[in-house]
Amino acid sequence: MGLIARVVEESGIPTISASSARDITGLVKPPRSVFVNFPLGHTTGKPFDRDLQTRIIKDAFEALRFIRDPGAIVDLPYQWQEGDDSWERAMNREAEGG
């Protein structure tokens, strides 16, 4: 997807990308990104949580306005579960092959 962002940006249309895979975004380098640390499938928020979805989208547009550094990734402050990162730790255990 970052490749599409780069092609569109090069054609003269500014892009803003969301991401829930910070390491991949760091390699592919879309022109501007906001990182939402949620499980895949929820990049713009939880189901039926209109307020959260709207805040994430507005944060993305704020980043569009303020990023001046090509390839910058802005970390958004949202947590999937307040004070509980067990989903991340479970995924990272699988990343270690076990």
Binding site: E9, I13, I16, S19, L40, G41, T44, G45, F61
Partner: protein, 161 residues
């Protein structure tokens, strides 16, 4: 916070399936077009990699891999007409509420609120898991870029699933 290491995760999954390690693309600095317009004057187009298509009117994506096509989703689509064809992310929440990865209803609200100028008449969905990078850039991405020009989009918002 320790973000999930998806590069390592993908390597571990591929190794467990007996495939050679996937080599992620490492890009140089991206192109950059300054954004200098007021958002409230902008026509915003949306893309999602969530594999959405209009049920009964468009073909589903190949849910496995390398579907190079894209679907054009009208800005005024009734979201209950959308379906997902994608085997590589858990779309159980997106099935119930497309706005989790294709926030088209939220953008319509932001248009009504005057936060953005308007949602583009044509928006885009693709299926991820495309390993044919050259074709993705030279065909799919360029066709989408041309579509954005044709409809005079000012901003492109991309949401991966």
């Amino acid at each position: 916070m320790s973000p999930v290491r998806y590069v390592d995760y993908t390597r571990a999954v591929f190794a467990a399936q007996g495939f050679p390690p996937y080599e992620w693309l490492v890009n140089g600095p991206p192109p950059f077009t300054p954004f200098d317009k007021a958002l409230e004057d902008c026509r915003v187009a949306l893309l999602s990699t969530g594999g959405f298509y209009v049920r009964g009117k468009q073909d589903p994506f190949d849910p496995e891999k390398n579907d190079m096509g894209f679907r054009e989703i009208p800005g005024d689509i009734d979201v209950s007409d959308l379906a997902v064809s994608h085997n590589y992310y858990d779309h159980s929440d997106a099935d119930r509420d497309v706005n989790c990865v294709f926030p088209i209803e939220r953008l319509r609200e932001l248009e009504a609120e005057g936060y953005i100028g308007e949602l583009a008449p044509v928006n885009y969905t693709i299926m991820g898991r495309i390993f044919r990078r050259t074709a993705l850039v030279n065909e799919t991405a360029h066709e989408i870029a041309e579509g954005l020009k044709r409809q005079e989009a000012d901003v492109f918002f991309l949401v991966p699933a």
